[in-house]
Symmetry: C2
DNA sequence: ATATTATATGGTAATTTTGCCAAATTGTCA
DNA sequence: TGACAATTTGGCAAAATTACCATATAATAT
């Protein structure tokens, strides 16, 4: 693959990889409801603080979320609304897959 | 995180992970233009046949593409059009990020 | 100043992903 | 049938990701 094309795909991959983890998807989902501080997210997720913090850094570096420090708390919010659309697309794909699987199951039944 | 919620996110992650690789993004992009056989994709990508084949298997298992054997060639095509939308979303995020970065650069210049 | 709270960073072991080679499979054609 | 072409699968080493602990940093309160 040529070098320019490769870097175009690498830029896209960076975004998509940032979302390719259940914790980070959860965070995006949660932030789509509104701003949350790290401690709120950590409590919901249950992982170590440092783990949650690193997930947030990945999302931030990818340009998906923004952080804002107030006092000694850091609040995160969605920067790219398209991140939510990506989740929506994933849900559509899951729905379609289930539909086509039941269709196949139905065909198999009707063959008997 | 509770177990049901976790599995909901895992299903989404499976889809997104399937797209989280530059070669696989390229394949989705290419297939969005039309059906392609493995050898065509392999030639464009340049990786080993087995590598390309494994990428295709990942996309197929995620429900993003379909395969169809004709003669001794296997043709792949897009199953989930939403896969293309995800790429589109990634592009939007990249565009916004560039925009906000130049805005910040502009502010810094105007401070001088 | 010092203790405390909230978050980020460095280091590291465990796990997952990747990509190549070799071998197996499937279909075509002589 | 046997040779060949296209694709997939198994095995494995290298690279990347993940999650924890310990430590560092920053803001607040005493």
């Amino acid at each position: 693959m040529n070098i320019n094309l490769k870097s175009k795909y690498d830029a896209r991959v960076k975004i998509i990889k940032a979302m390719a983890h259940s914790t980070r998807l959860f965070i995006v989902d949660e932030l789509s409801k509104g701003e949350r501080c790290v401690c709120e997210l950590q409590e919901m997720i249950g992982d170590d603080f440092s783990t949650v913090s690193k997930h947030l850094t990945i999302l931030k570096n990818a340009g998906l979320v923004l952080s804002n420090k107030r006092g000694n708390q850091v609040f995160y919010k969605i920067d790219a609304t398209c991140a939510c659309k990506i989740i929506c697309c994933a849900d559509n794909i899951i729905k379609n897959k289930l539909k086509s699987e039941t269709k196949i199951a139905g065909l198999k039944t009707s063959i008997r």
